[in-house]
């Protein structure tokens, strides 16, 4: 359809229908999206700014924030490297079992977070397959930081690869082949051609991966052991405070996570906008 043509009146819903649908949609959004968002911040500040600041600078809260960041700093780069490698493999080569590989990469999305925690307990827990051996060697994975990192890595596993595969499929490999013909080595082609080409898509995947890594609850809850100051991530700290009827402090820490979610949504819009702008250029090239 030509963009210049005005939509004909046949395509317009009658006014009563438009108002009805719009009202239902807006009510749904207000009730399920806007109200909870307002509530998080309003509950966080219900006892004033001082209580809020005290809640998020408390030593347990600070330890939880540090641990959450540490976990993200390990699992997000690991999944990013894997995502780029897997996307390159899948979109640039033909090999047997490719579709199976794609399905396996998506697998963690189909697994309940609780089960993601459970599988590591079965593997590394005190009664797990490797439990006795680990105990003999004084290595602690479950109820310790390595378990939290593993569980987080599992649930955030597909994000980067999933964003990159369709993007790199659509982009094709002409530019890479041209770079090689012009004498570029494999790595210099990667840094100078591939990375700039997939940059925004990669950023998008990393943002989503990071948001999930920081906010993960179920999987981490199973492997963490909930030791205050040691194995408590921010979402787990929120749970503990809430269960202790310390609602204001729970919402104060929760509001930091909500802020992160909002930042993620904004970044997502920015990246999507940049990708749309970049798309015509790469098509022309």
């Amino acid at each position: 359809m030509s963009p210049a043509r005005k939509p004909s009146t046949a395509l317009r819903d009658p006014a009563w229908l438009r108002i009805l649908l719009l009202a239902v949609a807006l009510a749904f959004v207000a009730l399920f999206l806007v109200l909870p968002l307002i509530a998080v911040f309003s509950y966080a500040f219900e006892k004033g700014v001082e209580t809020f600041v005290a809640s998020i600078t408390d030593s347990d809260a600070r330890a939880a924030i540090r641990l959450t960041l540490l976990v993200a700093v390990i699992s997000v780069p690991a999944n990013t490297i894997f995502g780029v490698a897997a996307a390159w493999l899948i979109t640039r080569f033909r090999f047997a079992g490719k579709n199976l590989l794609i399905s396996l990469i998506d697998l963690p999305f189909a697994v309940s977070p609780v089960i993601a925690g459970l599988i590591y307990v079965l593997l590394f827990g005190a009664q797990g397959w490797l439990g006795p051996w680990l105990a003999d060697h004084h290595v602690k994975i479950i109820y310790a930081v390595p378990g939290i990192v593993l569980a987080t890595t599992f649930v955030t596993f597909p994000f980067v690869a999933r964003e990159l595969i369709p993007l790199m499929q659509a982009q094709g490999s002409e530019q890479e082949e041209a770079a090689l013909t012009l004498g570029a080595g494999g790595w210099s082609m990667f840094w100078r051609v591939v990375l700039p080409k997939i940059g925004w898509g990669l950023a998008y995947g990393v943002i989503l991966c990071n948001a999930r890594a920081i906010g993960e609850f179920g999987a981490v809850s199973v492997v963490s052991g909930h030791i205050r100051g040691l194995t408590n991530t921010m979402p787990l700290h929120v749970e503990i405070l809430y269960n202790e009827y310390n609602r204001t402090a729970a919402f104060a820490v929760a509001s930091l996570l909500a802020l992160l979610a909002l930042a993620t949504l904004v970044l997502k819009q920015v990246v999507a906008w940049r990708m749309r702008r970049a798309a015509p250029e790469s098509e022309a090239a």
Binding site: M1, A10, L11, D13, P14, L21, L22, V24, A25, V29, F32, L35, P36, L37, A39, V40, Y43, A78, I81, F82, A85, A86, W88, R92, F93, R94, F95, L101, L104, I105, A110, V111, S112, P113, V114, I115, L118, I119, L122, Q127, W129, T153, E176, E177, L180, A211, G215, F217, G218, S221, V222, M234, P235, V238, E239, Y242, A250, A254, L260, L265
Partner: protein, 278 residues
């Protein structure tokens, strides 16, 4: 298409080795531990764990609430997508961005917030209770949490299809004298079916495994408002690895079945369409 040698581009060995070993370490070996564990339980003990009254009740709660939440989103999701694609109103882009909030907001935050809102002294709960109903700490509350977490799936699967819908068929329907509502129901809705089914299955698969947003609002009363993922955690806390594993297998198979159904359905629609085109 491919004129060059089979592996014209470098990095096949490196990316293959890296991808497969990372996949094996993080995903496949741990999942194999679950399968192996369930094999060691023995068929009788497995059957007992999977069909105990408490487990059966937890499936009813989990699958029932997930299906109900999916049905609510089945109606409201495509409706919201339609409004976002077809209507122009102030704040449209903001709402479009907000639809992803349930993906971005940590589930524990969603859980405590919805609980605070729907509890009897909450902003919404007090009105609902004044009207004689209760939502928090019962299956209705679980459904509310699951509507929240699965909301984006139906909107986001239907939206791109609506954006690419050619106006021709709608115009044709109008020319043939169909009213607008008739066109919506009998012309546009059928083209959206594949996307709606896909979105519903994704939403259902997600809702079945959901934990963080549910446990705060659920009440977690065994036999009444206990979801299956919570039963897994309860059994783990009691060091009943076998029982936890058995229920995990049931949950996992349900999610896989839902996702397999999507794949088969998509395969079927593609074949159906190509057959029609011929």
């Amino acid at each position: 298409m491919r004129r060059r040698r089979r592996h014209a581009l470098p990095g096949f060995g490196l990316t293959l080795g890296l991808s497969l070993s990372y996949l094996a370490l993080i995903v496949l070996i741990p999942l194999a531990a679950l399968v192996l564990k369930s094999a060691t339980i023995g068929p009788l003990a497995f059957w007992d764990a999977v069909t105990s009254p408490r487990a059966l009740a937890s499936y009813r709660v989990t699958f029932g609430c997930a299906a109900l939440a999916g049905l609510v989103n089945l109606v409201l999701g495509p409706l919201l997508a339609w409004v976002l694609v077809r209507y122009r109103f102030p704040g449209r882009k903001l709402i479009d961005a907000l639809v992803d909030l349930p993906f971005a907001l940590p589930t524990a935050v969603a859980g405590i917030t919805l609980t605070a809102l729907y509890a009897s002294n909450g902003w919404l709960g007090r009105w609902i209770e004044a009207a004689g109903y209760k939502i928090a700490y019962r299956p209705a509350g679980i459904t509310v949490a699951l509507i929240f977490v699965s909301l984006p799936f139906l909107v986001r699967s239907v939206q791109p299809v609506l954006e690419q819908l050619e106006p021709d068929i709608e115009e044709a329907a109008a020319t043939l004298g169909a009213g607008r509502l008739r066109t919506l129901v009998s012309v546009i809705l059928p083209t959206l079916w594949p996307a709606i089914v896909t979105g519903f299955s994704l939403a259902f698969a997600r809702a079945v495994g959901e934990y963080g947003s549910v446990i705060f609002i659920a009440g977690n009363l065994p036999m009444v408002s206990e979801i299956a993922p919570l039963l897994i955690v309860t059994k783990l806390d009691a060091f009943d690895y076998a029982g936890a594993t058995a229920i995990a297998v049931v949950l996992l198979l349900t999610s896989f079945a839902a996702l397999l159904a999507i794949n088969l359905f998509q395969l079927w629609t593609v074949r159906h369409r190509t057959a029609e085109a011929r």
